[in-house]
Symmetry: C2
Subunit: 319 residues, 2 copies
């Protein structure tokens, strides 16, 4: 039986192995994903993003519990900051959501590294796909939201919740403005802390200042104390309200087209680059080009064009 078939049969260990292959960027994972693809598209994907220390993990833990109570199976993909040199996860050994560890309806996976060719958004989409194929009704993607990579990741979610905490200082204003446009729901977590009112009010003001588009979703600012479970039920209700909106308004069609196109482009980018690497390895071109760049006698722009024209001979000349 292939790994993909085992995953479809509900084999947890097979799913874990496939996700590891994806995370490691192993090419054999592609064949399994091909088989899984037509069994996917059922899971509802929720993105949870925000700065470090906003309490995202605790919030995800509460959301998981809440969706479980509603009878849903829940997958969690937690993106941990990666050390660029060692490639290891920093928070990977943090004990995640202990209370769900014996629950077969919950599957948690930390993604840390990025494969040699693929970006993090590609790996995340692929891992979410496996969870989807496993029959998870809800897939929660948790990520530290600042860089472009993280923004790309949450774009794959049906509903994105941006989590803030009170009193993060004025410097966070800039970040806030950046994430304002990716959030479907804003959450002020640790809402018992000083400054919660101010942060919530500021967020509301910033949201109101945007030009509201007729018939578009109107993001709300919610308050939670994830540690004590306060406000998390209301957050789930708001997520479900956003889901209803997506389907009732028809916005879902555009969203899915855009998401699928991005996913395809990610895959295509990796595939063409992999092909180019292979081509260069056969010709020892890379070494020659890099040496030429060091001596400033080859420029990388012309070198790239040369590789491409050699790889893809004009079909008119060749038939």
């Amino acid at each position: 039986m292939t790994l993909a078939e085992q995953v479809l049969n509900g084999n947890i260990r097979a799913a874990a192995r496939l996700m590891r292959d994806i995370d490691d960027g192993r090419p054999q994972a592609i064949d399994e994903l091909k088989q899984l693809y037509r069994h996917t598209g059922k899971a509802y994907i929720i993105g949870i993003t925000g700065p470090p220390g906003a309490g995202k993990s605790t919030l995800v833990d509460q959301l998981t519990a809440s969706f479980r109570k509603r009878g849903n199976r829940v997958g969690v993909v937690a993106i941990d900051p990666t050390s660029p040199f060692t490639g290891g996860a920093i928070l990977g050994d943090r004990i995640r959501m202990n209370r769900h560890s014996c629950d077969e309806g919950v599957f948690i996976r930390s993604l840390a590294t990025r494969g040699a060719l693929g970006g993090l958004s590609r790996s995340t989409s692929d891992v979410a796909l496996v969870m989807d194929a496993m029959g998870m009704d809800i897939v929660i993607i948790e990520t530290v939201g600042v860089g472009q990579d993280e923004v790309d990741i949450v774009k794959a979610a049906h509903t994105t919740c941006v989590v803030m905490v009170p009193g993060m200082g004025d410097d966070i204003q800039a970040i806030k403005a950046g994430i304002l446009e990716i959030g479907d729901i804003f959450v002020v977590n640790k809402a018992d802390r000083d400054g919660a009112d101010r942060t919530a009010r500021e967020l509301s003001n910033m949201l109101e200042m945007r030009n509201a588009v007729e018939g578009a979703w109107n993001p709300q600012v919610m308050r939670t104390e994830a540690q004590r479970g306060v406000g998390t039920e209301e957050l789930v209700e708001e997520i479900l309200a956003h889901r209803d909106f997506l389907f009732a308004s028809g916005t879902i069609d555009n969203f899915l087209r855009e998401r699928n196109q991005r996913h395809f482009m990610d895959i295509l980018r990796d595939a063409v680059l992999g092909k180019a690497m292979l081509f260069m390895a056969e010709n020892d071109s890379l070494d020659r080009i890099v040496s030429g760049m060091c001596d400033r006698c080859i420029d990388p722009y012309s070198a790239a064009e040369e590789i491409i024209s050699k790889m893809m001979p004009d079909r008119k000349n060749c038939s």
Copy 2:
């Protein structure tokens, strides 16, 4: 006269225009960069990275003044967080380094957007190249350091300074661990604040815990109060010490090879993907593939392989 020739002649407006073309991802910029490339490789690149609010801009301002006093021409590339939807700069309108605005030996450029095809690290390398060709002795790249994109950017710098501030809370620990390995010099800025000693000590401890490699550079923890110019001269001295080390130890050769290879791969990635986009546009393939994905009758992995095999027919079959 081409833009490139004007840049080499010291035309500031031509340089600004070329940088804008790069930032916008315009293909005509490539031809200019090809011409400039062999005139580059002279500038020393310094990366300044750290969380928002660490006072990086003020520090960059002081470093600029200090290098100017030493008779160097200084270019600054400031990477501002980009709003993912509007594509605009958030901090772009922040008034940067007013006091250098009349100094012809200083050229400052904010990079905000990323081109349709290229990543931020690609644009940054290309803009730094233009500054190099303009005859800037020092190019400072300032970036908010958290995501993978930002890490890729500072890898292009000869010397990377990681800037921290006292009392950023325990949650920053995780980030610290991630940036520990990219810093050649660590700076505790706002060193007059409470907790500066602790932050500096923690950083030193973390650095000492690493397995020191024989003959490798040993990063120091410096303290600055950039606002008052305290410690910035010492920081410049340390940067120059790192530069001396790079050349004296021969580490520079490896560094340049790696940097040039990354730059080339960035360019190649964009070029092959651009080619694939063009190919798909001619065949209306993208629309068909995305629709097929929505219906789950086409999987993106097989579709990417199909596009590639059509683009690059096996040369054995075609000759």
